[in-house]
């Protein structure tokens, strides 16, 4: 592939908006001042599972300062939410399915009054048996949580003949793995504020990952015409998947709908405790995985039976189960595959999207299996991964032929010198007598975009007659830096600096949908939509320049706000001149772009299909030191190699990698959300600066032909290999494997004792 030279692609352009953020001037939803707001508060359910017989709001309404109390009956439109399957009422109707369910909404003059009123609502419940374990919920005769029953979906991926391959295996390993609920723990608790503007439009500012979806849901809830609701994304303090579901938006819409005549803004700011209670979690998984390989270590077959707990509602559960099934093989070529993933309703807080959608849970299993085989066959774990790595020309478990941009081997090669160094020098170096060292690897692949469904993005670019450029995108930047990256793509095509591109972002009045900021899809999909729009604009400018410069189109270049003849740079014309001419002739300077990756839906019986147009790859190496007496794990270093196709903004890619590793360290060692017990940040620990290892980020660029300048994505991949690498390192250190996350002090200490290391003197 020829290396093209770019002016702004591949440059670590400084973040748009960073200046406001360091000044404390960035406006998050809780910072927006629209005048004296009314305060919203939901009354949450008192039971995990119960029928609602009656709701009496009279006492609450009688409290001084209460402006309204609303229940399901006050919702004029469709009281059901959900991006994939609609099963979640904004306000509970006939029953509650978890403690997170909102039963009534209070609107009051102050937080204190709202709290008092929420308490004063009297709800008559008829309790039902509550189910927290998927297996209980699937059992014969279990009370149905939803009318359709407790099984939301079974996703199957089948290929080849697993049983024959198992029979011929040199090494056959069957194990069970378990992961728990995880809290996203974005730093900014969910918040929003809204008002009714002069022409009667409900304007809602929210902390969100998908303003256009919010818009659709609020319009549906309130049965309003599209143009009567406007969603504007406020500066958003992280999301990681949780802000893909409606959190405060529907409540604000409902309050405005009924109380807009008061002329007051309404505001809902979740306390951290409410964010913990009421927003989605990562799906816990139980995975039984059996894998086989031949004597040389080549993987021949895999069988998986996995169950994931989606809690009370579907949210992104179907996507999580599907992605888990497709990603079960990891980045390895396995000819015979039989995977079944069930997604099951329970009465836990609902689970939804969280960075990786089931792939991080699956990666724990496939990466552990590789190490188990390697150990049994006395093969080096890195060699085992390299031998089985997907390559161009390989066929995936869904029957997709992988044609380009398969950088897993390159990731393994990049990590190899660090791995050897760690094994040869770091591992045998002396340490304290009760400490044991281990080195572990973790690999992953990750399909960019939604699984086997359409997920288009759009964008619009406009050039004013004076040559100034505005890019309109619905793409929510939640801190990952998409606004900067999209500006770089447009700037590169037009030969401008990214600062010269004015960005209008995530406001449903001015932008068209870019889809969700999820599935690591925005650089690839919205990047392509922006490139499409910008190339259309570039083309009319070139056409005009041909006329003006009397040179063929293919001899022209964009450079520094001008179009120049490549071979004669002194022959040039300013874009502003061209824009004015096009404008005066009545030509169009406003172009809409579109991109939808080419996918083929998965066959429900076999899983056959093309779930994603492209995949990212990564390998992490973890070096850990385990205290055999306390179970404490110190992660000394993580080397993280990522094939991102093309790093449009390398420093931002590094930021994603380092942030992903941190979340991976939390997933591996300390994070678990316990239903009914985890209430505040005192009960849930995420890594601090002091917990973090040195991270060595390595960017691999196996360019994707269909990507914008070759780019794929990195947001979720960054997290996925970390936990398996750490678990493999702990297991190597102790000679005992950990099968359940988190590898907490208790679990590690138990493994240490079991392996006979819990004796201070002997070592």
């Amino acid at each position: 592939m020829t290396e093209e030279r770019y002016a702004v692609i591949g440059q670590s352009v400084l973040r748009k908006g960073a200046r406001e953020k360091v000044l404390g001037a960035a406006v998050f939803a809780a910072d927006i001042d629209l005048g004296r707001p009314l305060v919203l508060l939901a009354r949450r359910s008192d039971h995990s599972h119960a029928l609602i017989r009656q709701i009496d709001v009279a006492a609450a309404l009688a409290i001084d300062g209460v402006k309204g109390v609303f229940t399901a009956r006050d919702i004029p439109g469709v009281n059901l939410l959900g991006i994939i399957n609609k099963d979640q009422p904004l306000l509970a109707d006939d029953k509650v399915r978890s403690r997170a369910d909102a039963v009534a909404l209070v609107v009051a003059e102050s937080q204190a009054v709202a709290e008092q009123a929420a308490e004063a609502i009297s709800i008559d419940y008829q309790p039902l048996p509550a189910l927290f374990e998927p297996l209980e919920a699937l059992a014969e005769g279990a009370p149905p949580i939803h009318k359709k029953g407790n099984l939301l979906l079974t996703r199957v991926v089948r290929r080849g003949d697993v049983d024959s391959a198992f029979a011929a295996a040199a090494s056959l390993i069957e194990k069970e793995y378990e992961t728990g609920f995880i809290e996203h723990n974005y730093l900014e608790p969910d918040a929003g504020i809204g008002h009714v503007d002069a022409d009667g439009t409900l304007v809602i500012y929210a902390s969100t990952q998908n303003p256009h979806y919010d818009h659709k849901e609020v319009v549906g809830l309130l049965d309003l015409p599209d143009e009567k609701v406007r969603i504007i994304q406020a500066a958003t303090g992280g999301g990681f998947g949780s802000k893909l579901d409606l959190n405060v938006q529907g409540f604000i819409g409902l309050a405005l709908h009924h109380l807009g005549h008061l002329g007051r803004p309404v505001r809902y700011i979740y306390s951290r405790e409410e964010a913990y209670l009421a927003t989605s979690k990562r799906h816990p998984f139980r995975i039984r995985m059996t894998t086989a390989c031949d004597r040389s270590g080549r993987l021949t077959a895999m069988r998986v039976r996995a169950v994931c707990n989606t809690g009370a509602y579907g949210s992104y559960g179907i996507a999580v189960a599907s992605r888990a099934a497709v990603h079960a093989t990891g980045p390895y070529a396995i000819d015979n595959v039989d995977v079944e993933v069930q997604c099951v309703y329970t009465n836990a807080t609902y689970c939804g999207a969280m960075r990786g959608f089931g792939a991080p849970q699956m990666a724990l299993a496939h990466e552990s299996q590789i190490d188990l085989h390697a150990e049994e066959l006395h093969i080096d774990p890195l060699a085992m991964r390299t031998m089985n790595a997907l390559q161009v020309g390989a066929t995936s478990s869904t029957g997709q032929i992988l044609t380009a941009s398969i950088g897993y081997r390159q990731c393994l090669e990049a990590v190899a010198p660090y791995y050897r160094q760690a094994c040869d020098h770091w591992l045998p170096a002396p340490t304290l007598p009760h400490r044991r060292r281990g080195v572990g690897l973790g690999g992953m692949w990750y399909g960019i975009g939604n699984t086997g469904v359409q997920n288009p993005s759009t964008a619009r670019i406009e050039m004013a007659p004076d040559g100034s450029v505005t890019l309109f995108t619905g793409c929510a930047d939640i801190g990952q830096g998409s606004t900067t990256v999209l500006s770089q793509i447009a700037a590169e095509i037009l030969g401008l600096s990214p600062e010269a591109i004015r960005m209008v972002v995530a406001d449903t009045k001015y932008t068209t949908s870019a889809g969700a900021t999820s599935a690591s899809r925005q650089t690839y999909i919205s990047g392509n939509a922006v490139a499409n729009a910008t190339r259309n604009l570039a083309n009319v400018l070139l056409t005009e320049a041909v006329n003006r410069l009397r040179a063929p189109k293919n001899s022209l270049l964009f450079s520094g706000g001008e179009i120049v003849v490549a071979s004669k740079p002194e022959v040039r014309v300013a874009m502003a001149t061209l824009a004015r001419r096009i404008h005066d002739k009545g030509g169009t300077l406003s172009w809409q772009g579109f991109f939808d990756p080419e996918t083929v839906p998965l066959d429900p019986q076999t899983g056959e299909g093309v779930p994603y147009a492209t995949y990212a790859f990564a390998c992490h190496l973890a070096e850990v030191e385990v205290d055999t007496l306390t179970g404490e794990v110190h992660v000394a270093r993580v080397v993280a190699a990522h094939d991102v196709g093309r790093a449009i903004n390398p420093a931002s890619v590094v930021g994603q990698i380092c942030g992903g590793v941190a979340m991976g360290v939390g997933f591996a060692l300390m994070e678990e959300f316990e239903q009914g017990r985890t209430e505040s940040m005192k009960d849930y620990h995420i890594p601090t600066a002091a917990d973090m290892p040195e991270v060595v980020p390595i960017i691999i660029e196996a360019a994707e032909p269909s990507g914008p300048f070759g780019a794929k994505g990195v947001g979720e991949p960054a997290l996925i290999p970390t936990a398996p690498a750490i678990v493999n390192a702990i297991s190597a250190a102790l000679n005992r494997r950990i099968y359940a996350l988190p590898a907490s002090l208790e679990r590690v200490l138990a493994a240490s004792i079991d392996a006979g290391h819990y004796r201070r003197k002997e070592r």
Binding site: S12, L14, R15, G17, A18, R19, E20, K21, V22, L23, G24, A25, A26, V27, F28, A30, D31, D33, H184, N185, Y186, L187, E188, P189, A235, T236, G237, G238, F240, S271, R272, I478, G479, Q480, G481, A651, S652, V654, G655, I657, C658, G659, G660, V661, A662, M663, S680, M681, K682, I686, P687, T688, A689, A690, M692, E694, V695
Partner: protein, 157 residues
């Protein structure tokens, strides 16, 4: 509602306020002074998003009673830059890509500012310790620590 009269310095300016007796410093800073740069991430002293500098020390404004500000010198993120430009910490945070969502950023800046006030030449470990109470879910801290290191006064001048 019982109120307390307090007088203190905010970012170099004197203010006098009657604050509700039970109000936290964070509530007063955000709601009464309108300085929204200080964030509430937890309200119970666990996340550091509300960190401000009081008499040279970094404190969690969500745990401090507003009444305790009486007679103090309070510095918030809004007071870091001066008319000549950004504080070096702010500049380096931008330059080293240490800002992602930015919700933790004001707290990180204030903790680092207090560290610099106490120590002219802090080492990397001391920087890590100083911001260990400031949770960040986005960056993994590496670019933050590098940015703060780059802003250490000894290195700069």
């Amino acid at each position: 509602m019982q109120t307390v009269h307090i007088e203190f310095m905010v970012n170099g300016k004197e203010v006098a306020l009657d604050v509700p007796a039970g109000a936290t410093a964070l509530q007063v800073i955000r709601e009464m002074l309108g300085l929204k740069g200080s964030k509430e991430g937890c309200g119970i002293g666990e996340c550091g998003a509300c960190t401000v500098v009081v008499d040279g020390k970094a404190v969690n404004a969500c745990l401090l009673l507003a009444a305790q500000l009486d007679g103090c010198r309070l510095l918030t993120v809004e007071g870091l830059a001066d008319p000549a430009g950004l504080h070096p910490l702010q500049e380096k945070m931008i330059e080293h890509h240490a800002v992602q969502c930015g919700f933790c950023t004001p707290g990180v800046l204030m903790s680092s500012y207090a560290l610099f006030a106490e120590k002219a030449n802090p080492k990397r470990e001391e920087i890590v310790a100083a911001v260990a109470g400031n949770l960040c879910r986005c960056t993994g801290y590496q670019q933050i620590i590098t940015a703060i290191e780059a802003a250490v006064p000894g290195e700069n001048r």
